[in-house]
């Protein structure tokens, strides 16, 4: 049986070059980078090289990169650390309705700590309207955080336009670029943001590698107190192998981005076009053009996502879903609901995210495998039976 991994939005495989550069740091180069001997020097050198490469990927200064253990940590650090650093100026923050839970729930925690939160809506494509940000800004607003692209629906947000508004009002603007950095061009100067989160396992680096970039002069309160690692902003002995791998992944992401995306876009567009061509009553979620290169997401009506995942998995295909049944909290995806989809339709969510290892044959296989699975589940579905009865009556 063919194995097709189409879940790169959850995490990507490690590239062999990345693994190779990490291995010595899991072996002989085990020193603590804070130590003043040869072992420490070697580890420190590995980290600082990686810092330069990660900074290069996003057009930043190396000294403004703070390594963390994940995208989630970076987002927690940004939301809590930036808001707390400015609470004397005000206690109002703004996020969008489609943020990752690490942003949304950090903002909710701030609410418990006495901050006020405004959640701006999105349109049916999942796009934030910059005017809604403008209207939500108050004299006491100290932080705006808008995701660069949602990994659930792939829609790319108008970050530059929002940055023009926040700059005018001198409000700190953070973006969660975990789904975009290393995938599409991300430049902190062009975007005009003040802080940006990224993670290595989204672009063929290791899990446990994340970073937060904070513009020089913007204050942030550390979440982790302890030693003076990461310029005193993030204490704790560094995960040297992961950071070194992160650096290599960033270097390759920068040099190969164009060729990777040329290939991914072709494969993605085939999924977006050919799957709805074979299955009736299926909705493409997210923006038709302003979307991540390897990202195809759908809602298949009358059936549920987990059942689709299980049957696809039995055919060797790995995908994911935002259906309530697949979430541990058993709640429908907040992103799909924010885009105005009904709970019943959101149940049929299906997300395919391509990676550099995927081929045209993989796409052929998925396009061939999915329709009979959908048909099989629809034959079991009382909702589909109702739809068919209505349809026949209508005719």
């Amino acid at each position: 049986m063919r194995n097709v991994y189409l879940d790169n939005a959850s995490t990507t495989p490690l590239l062999p070059e990345v693994r190779d550069i990490m291995l010595p740091y899991l072996d002989k180069l085990y020193g603590n980078p804070s130590c003043m001997h040869e072992w420490g020097d070697a580890a420190r050198e590995g980290i600082e090289n990686a810092r330069t490469k990660v900074a290069d990927l996003i057009g930043a200064d190396a000294e403004d990169i703070i390594f963390t253990a994940s995208g989630t940590e970076s987002n927690n650090f940004a939301i809590k650390g930036l808001a707390l650093a400015q609470q004397s100026k005000g206690k109002h923050i703004i996020v969008s309705a489609i943020e990752h839970f690490s942003v949304l729930n950090s903002a909710r925690t701030l609410e418990k700590w006495g901050f006020e939160l405004t959640v701006v809506p999105v349109d049916k494509y999942g796009r934030v309207n910059p005017d809604d940000i403008r209207k939500s800004i108050r004299p006491d607003t100290v932080l705006v955080s808008i995701i660069h692209a949602s990994s659930e629906v792939g829609t790319i947000e108008p970050i530059q336009e929002i940055a023009r508004i926040t700059r005018e009002r001198k409000i700190v603007f953070h973006t969660d670029a975990v789904a975009t950095a290393g995938t599409i061009p991300v430049n902190v100067t062009d975007l005009g943001v003040d802080a940006l989160s990224l993670a290595g396992n989204q672009f063929y680096g290791p899990k446990g590698s994340g970073a937060l970039w904070v513009r020089k002069g913007v204050r942030i309160i550390p979440l982790l107190d302890g030693g003076v690692q990461e310029g005193g902003r993030r204490a704790g002995t560094e995960n040297v192998p992961a950071i070194v791998g992160f650096g290599k992944a960033a270097e390759l992401a920068k040099s190969d981005m164009e060729s990777r995306n040329a290939k991914l876009t072709v494969l993605r567009d085939r999924l977006l076009k050919e799957i709805p061509g074979k299955i009736e009553r299926i909705i493409v979620t997210g923006h038709p053009t302003q979307r991540l290169p390897g990202h195809a997401s759908f809602c298949v009506e009358f059936i549920e996502g987990e059942a689709m995942i299980m049957l696809l998995s039995s055919q060797g295909v790995a995908v994911t879903s935002g259906s309530a049944c697949t979430s541990r909290a058993l709640k429908a995806s907040h992103v799909l609901i924010a885009m105005g989809l009904t709970h019943a339709v959101a149940q049929g969510s299906l997300l395919m995210s391509l990676g550099v290892d995927n081929t045209a044959d993989d796409v052929d296989y998925v396009i061939e495998t999915l329709p009979p699975i959908v048909d099989r589940l629809r034959q079991m579905s009382p909702l589909y039976a109702k739809y068919l009865k209505k349809k026949t009556k209508g005719v």
Binding site: E304, E306, A307, C325, L330, T342, A344, Q379, S381, A385
Partner: protein
């Protein structure tokens, strides 16, 4: 994806008694698509026994397996026996269900009982109509 027992996987991959019964003696529908799961059971009754059972289910793997298992457990049973099938018994027969899925997916017994209620009330009404006809 939750970890399902082999029995759940078997019933999900090869569900028994999927479909509808035309002119069923009783139909029971539970759940709604908003909460994620919806099941419809159809029964045919002869001499107080469930002669045939079919179902349709909108929902996750567990919901489909539960429906299939309930249909199998109740097939050929008397009405009284079928009414004794509980969600816990269904879960036990399936060698367990993930804890968080127990309530939302385990609606099969309820749907079957509703179909039986439907059958019983139709029978009652039928008698009334007949009596009315004699007058």
């Amino acid at each position: 994806m939750p970890v399902y027992s082999d029995k759940v996987m078997d019933h999900f991959m090869h569900p028994r008694n999927v479909g509808e019964i035309e002119n069923a003696d009783g139909v029971g529908e539970v759940g709604n698509p908003v909460c994620g799961d919806m099941m419809t059971f159809y029964i045919k009754v002869k001499d107080d026994r469930l002669e045939d059972i079919k179902f349709k289910t909108f929902g996750c793997g567990a919901a489909i397996a539960v429906s299939s298992m309930v249909s199998e457990m109740a097939m050929g049973k008397t009405i009284d026996e079928a009414l004794k099938i509980t969600p816990q018994l269904v879960a036990d027969e399936l060698e367990g269900l993930p804890k968080q899925k127990f309530h939302c997916s385990n609606l099969g017994a309820q749907a079957l009982h509703k179909a039986i209620e439907d059958y019983q009330s139709r029978k009652e009404n039928g008698k009334k109509v007949k009596r009315g006809g004699k007058k």
